[in-house]
């Protein structure tokens, strides 16, 4: 394993392009296939994993990501209609609540600051 760092974004192309524009293409690795994303977690610790999109079996997917990335900050982006489902996944790394936070998509300017991985934040953003 390398040291924890970087952001992995699992989302459809339009979303990953937004992240790439916002953080720079070198700051993240983007996937739209969950299995490819999981494989990229095998030998690397990521600082942050962002999951966006209506993946079937989202709970299982989030639990799988947590299994491979114990220390990553895992956030989910969802539409307003899915908020209650995603809210139930927030638990700070427990099996039943494998994600750390969620945001309603599209992101606001404030959300973009909060979703920023720890190693990308300046001091004023480090609230946790």
């Amino acid at each position: 394993m390398t040291g924890a760092g970087g952001m992995l974004v699992l989302a459809e192309r339009t979303v990953t392009d937004e992240f790439s524009d916002h953080f720079g293409p070198d700051s993240l690795r983007a996937f739209d296939d969950p299995y490819e994303a999981l494989a990229a977690m095998e030998n690397r610790d990521w600082a942050s994993v962002v999951i966006a999109g209506s993946y079937v079996g989202l709970r299982g997917l989030c639990r799988a990501v947590r299994r491979l990335q114990r220390n990553a900050r895992i956030v989910v982006l969802c539409g307003p209609a899915a908020e209650s489902e995603v809210l139930a996944l927030v638990g700070g790394a427990s099996d039943e609540g494998p994600i750390d936070d969620y945001f309603i998509y599209p992101l606001t300017a404030a959300d973009w600051r909060k979703v920023t991985p720890v190693d990308h934040r300046d001091d004023s953003n480090q609230e946790e």
Partner: protein, 196 residues
């Protein structure tokens, strides 16, 4: 062999099923079975377990599998793992997609897994690492031979393998005309046995 301190490493069987009874069937009645079963309910979790610690084999309840989950099987093959399945082939998946997967009746699962576990080095990673590094698909393995040997002790009909279809023929034929083309008579017999 027999180093109990390493008993957790490489002695794991991943069971992908929402049915807890399948885990029992995989374990069998022998409390001293040479492997540990870990049941997960999501194909993604199965993939994560597979990546986190390579198991001896993966058992898939085909009811949990969708066409989008076929990379899980590919992932298992890339690591030289045996893939066993129970149940009927789900809609949207063809027998060609499951090429190399061994279809088993529930009642014979524990015997098959026991044979598999006993055929491997104690640290199951040893035999698989080279294949994983080269990314080559596994040859018909000694594991497979052992399974068949074990099956012969119980019932050869207990296990059927989805054979890879010859590419030319697969392209020439129109896709799945009738259910009779999906399963062989032996596979159907195994499935019916599974249901009972």
């Amino acid at each position: 062999m027999g180093d109990n301190t390493k008993s957790c490493r490489g002695r794991k069987i991943i069971i992908l099923s929402r049915d807890a009874a399948l885990e029992g069937a995989a374990r069998g009645e022998d409390s001293m079975s040479p492997y540990q079963c870990l049941r997960v309910t999501s194909p993604y979790e199965a993939a994560a377990e597979l990546l986190a610690e390579p198991p001896i084999a993966i058992v898939i309840d085909l009811r949990c599998l969708t066409p989008g989950d076929l990379p899980l099987i590919e992932m298992a093959y890339q690591r030289g793992l045996e893939v066993l399945a129970v149940g009927a082939v789900p809609l949207g998946i063809t027998t060609t997609d499951l090429s190399g997967v061994r279809l088993s009746a529930r009642g014979h699962l524990s015997a098959l897994l026991e044979g598999l576990a006993q055929s491997l080095p104690y640290d199951g990673q040893d035999g698989n690492s080279a294949q994983a590094l080269t990314g080559e698909s596994p040859e018909p393995s000694s594991q497979a031979r052992s399974i068949e040997h074990k099956a012969s002790r119980t019932d050869r009909k207990a296990i059927q393998t989805f054979a890879p279809a010859p590419k030319a023929q697969a392209n020439d034929k129109p896709p799945g005309k009738s259910p009779n083309e999906l399963l062989t008579r032996e596979e159907l017999a195994a499935l019916l046995e599974d249901e009972s």
